[in-house]
């Protein structure tokens, strides 16, 4: 089962934008909920992006969910995410508007690099053989 994991950057932006742009944020999160339902259905992220118009491919495994589907006069907001399929973790990276888009994407790339490294390290640790009884006694 998939789980979402927000970054601290995401948390800060979420608090600010739910105050300043509540209508836009309601639509973005509504779309995020639909995206999450598709992940739970076992659909791969590439296919989700192809089939849902509110999802954009930002490359490097990063996708952005927008506010489309609600009233037409809403400002453009994008919620950036990184679905990590092996661990079924949906990393919620950041949120931004059209003006901050290039900077947001750059920030996301740096975050994803870190996430991939930490996931690989975790996998390597998990695949290491259990220490034998003799080894575990070594101080």
């Amino acid at each position: 089962m998939w789980k979402s994991q927000p970054t601290d950057v995401f948390k800060g932006k979420l608090i600010r934008l739910t105050k300043n742009r509540p209508k836009e944020m309601e639509n973005v999160i509504r779309n995020l909920s639909t995206y999450f339902a598709a992940l739970d259905e076992g659909v791969n992220p590439i296919q989700i992006q192809e089939r849902f118009r509110f999802v954009h491919n930002e490359r490097n495994g990063i996708y952005a969910v927008d506010q489309k589907g609600g009233p037409k006069n809403l400002a453009e907001i994008r919620l950036y995410l990184f679905p990590h399929v092996p661990s079924e973790t949906l990393y919620l990276l950041t949120i931004g508007d059209k003006n901050s888009q290039p900077r947001d994407i750059n920030d996301c790339r740096a975050m994803v690099k870190e996430i991939k490294t930490s996931e690989e390290t975790r996998n390597e640790r998990a695949s290491e053989p259990e220490p034998t009884e003799d080894e575990s006694e070594i101080p």
Binding site: K3, P6, D8, L14, I15, R51, T89, A110, M111
Partner: protein, 200 residues
């Protein structure tokens, strides 16, 4: 020596199964979260259909073509609320996805534990149906024995999995023989079968 702090490192901690819970936890904004929860609750069926459409790798236009309407109509349908969709549209959409629509009701005040019990009873009923069908047919009976072992193993595995997740909680209050509670073994032989699976 301490590792240098990387400013790009995404600080994360808690993982959430529920998007609304996550928003509530982070923003502490009850008014916004209540509104959001209402919006999401109004779209349970639509989210389900859209997820199934993506799983079937179909576009809005594919659905529209088979429902003899425009792609714009499907877009409007998907962006609306469950209450704005007719039962006929729901059935048509589901049928295109190869889904059979099944309706059911349950008491509003039922809790999760009671839901689990209801599912267990439903599984038991289905297993009895399979047993009735296979009665008198040696091949089917042999197949049923293997199948029942799989059901038993998967059920126990699921309980053990949950048990592991909440191990700290379980340490204080260990779960007692879940297989016996679930399957309500009627004979000593049944209990032996269950215990042999639990012991694996």
């Amino acid at each position: 020596m301490n590792e240098p702090v990387n400013p790009n490192r995404p600080k994360t901690n808690r993982r959430y199964r529920n998007i609304v819970d996550m928003v509530r936890d982070i923003t502490k904004d009850e008014a916004f979260t209540d509104g959001l929860e209402k919006t999401i609750r109004e779209r349970v069926l639509l989210d389900h259909l859209m997820a199934k459409r993506a799983a079937a790798d179909l576009s809005q236009k594919d659905i529209a073509d088979q429902m003899n309407c425009s792609q714009g109509r499907i877009s409007k349908l998907e962006n609306g609320k469950d209450s704005q969709m007719t039962i006929g549209e729901f059935q048509q959409y589901a049928n295109i996805l190869g889904l059979e629509v099944a309706f059911g009701t349950r008491r509003k005040d039922i809790n999760i534990a009671q839901q689990v019990k209801l599912h267990v009873f439903a599984i038991r009923k289905l297993l009895h149906q399979i047993a009735d069908i296979s009665h008198g047919d040696e091949n089917m009976s042999n197949g049923l024995k293997v199948f029942l072992s799989e059901v038993l193993f998967n059920t126990v595995h699921s309980v053990v999995d949950v048990n592991r997740r909440f191990k700290d909680l379980v340490k204080e209050s260990p779960i007692e023989k879940p297989s016996i509670l679930v399957f309500d073994a009627e004979s000593e032989e049944d209990e032996n079968v269950i215990h042999s699976h639990v012991a694996r």
